[in-house]
Symmetry: C2
Subunit: 245 residues, 2 copies
């Protein structure tokens, strides 16, 4: 399997490319509209045709490249059913599996950051799944905020503890963001060392901690939410209409 972690410095978003070279097909997870050109260039150089574009949730901090990638490649857009994104070609729910060649992305519902958040447990052929793309549910030594988009701290705690921390300790954790230069973790590490969700933390402590964060709204939320409900094909952006000409 070809696996690439790609980064957007402005929003600190990680995009993931997963490719099966034997069939020349790939998936992209959590794309960023400003990097569509980079991502298409990389796919071409790797000899991969884009089959599927997936979101872990409807993002509030950046605009997805999904719609533009769909137009330019014919790929299908996979968005969680509960995310409020009618643009999806394939709405996803818990237990669904998206296959690209020998790659399988198993959908785990992990709500709490938003009501529609999912994680993708990734396996290759007959091998056991060895990595999970956790979106904003579980970050390296952190987690997504829970104060908008139907976020709920108790729900996030339950998602992480019942769906993610129950995976094998060696499972690699690839998050949708990192703000400190960390690229990857493991389930075992997060169970031991995540300062919000791991170690000796309790559910009530976590709910109290999240309620006290008092974060400013994401800078792009007013643009990003409506744009992402349309798979990125709305709002200001590279190719959305005459107002940008």
């Amino acid at each position: 399997m070809i696996f690439r972690q790609l980064f957007d410095r402005e929003s600190c978003t990680y995009t993931y490319l997963l490719g099966d070279p034997s069939v020349g097909r790939a998936a992209l997870v959590d794309t960023v509209r400003e990097h569509v050109g980079r991502d298409l260039g990389l796919l071409e150089e790797l000899g991969l045709k884009l089959g599927a574009v997936l979101e872990t949730h409807v993002h509030a901090d950046h605009v997805t490249g999904a719609g533009e990638l769909r137009r330019r490649t014919g790929a299908t857009c996979h968005v969680p059913r509960l995310g409020g994104a009618p643009c999806a070609d394939v709405p996803l729910g818990d237990g669904d599996v998206v296959r690209v060649g020998e790659i399988a992305l198993h959908v785990l519902a992990t709500p709490g950051h938003t009501s529609g958040c999912v994680s993708y447990l990734v396996s290759w052929g007959d091998a056991a799944a060895d990595r999970v793309l956790t979106g904003d549910a579980l970050l390296v030594r952190g987690c997504g905020r829970t104060d908008f988009q139907e976020g709920d701290a108790g729900t996030l705690w339950d998602s992480v503890h019942t769906r993610l921390f129950t995976l094998p300790d060696a499972t690699r954790v690839y998050p949708a963001h990192d703000y400190k230069g960390m690229s990857v973790s493991t389930i075992g590490e997060e169970k031991r060392h995540n300062p919000r969700l791991g170690g000796a933390r309790t559910r009530p402590e976590f709910i109290e901690l999240m309620a006290a964060l008092d974060l400013p709204a994401p800078a792009k939320i007013a643009e990003a939410l409506p744009a992402n409900r349309a798979c990125g094909d709305a709002g200001t952006g590279p190719d959305t209409g005459p107002e940008r000409m």
Copy 2:
């Protein structure tokens, strides 16, 4: 082997952590002084004691954390012999090998960005080397500039073509920097797609291209070069003297 790629958003520098959990020892390559706390925290959480801090070269764009890491952990500083860094505990030259548990970092002289640049070819136990830390000699679809620190485009071309492009195509390439959100490549990819050094490019074309870049000086060069010749223990910084108190 534990392998972690860490990032500094300001200078777009990648730091690499390589650890052997069976002996609880680790090496760090190309650290950034501002992230010493992050890196020590990660080592502690992973149960690893720092044995060696290595540089691919004397950096001009950021200050290394090597000296501070040495003071705080007792690790030894490994710096290329030709880099002009008398602070090194172990000056390195082509063919040297730094061992940390089952991990071996084989030194390849790859001058051209600076006269002292090296790459580290990494192997684990008896397995063949499968990744190379290329510093600024070879970046993902790019390379380091050649207009200061005894940089020389012809020398860089020769280094990349005789020491790196002769490695197996599947060897993973981990650079010291990336400015576009790319994290890793392979030797085969760079041979085919590096727009400066790969494909149909010729040595004279490369020399001409590098001479025409006309780049501004790195913002931190006046501070970084003297500081890095002292392994980071000079110039302004977190703990260098009363002027910062």
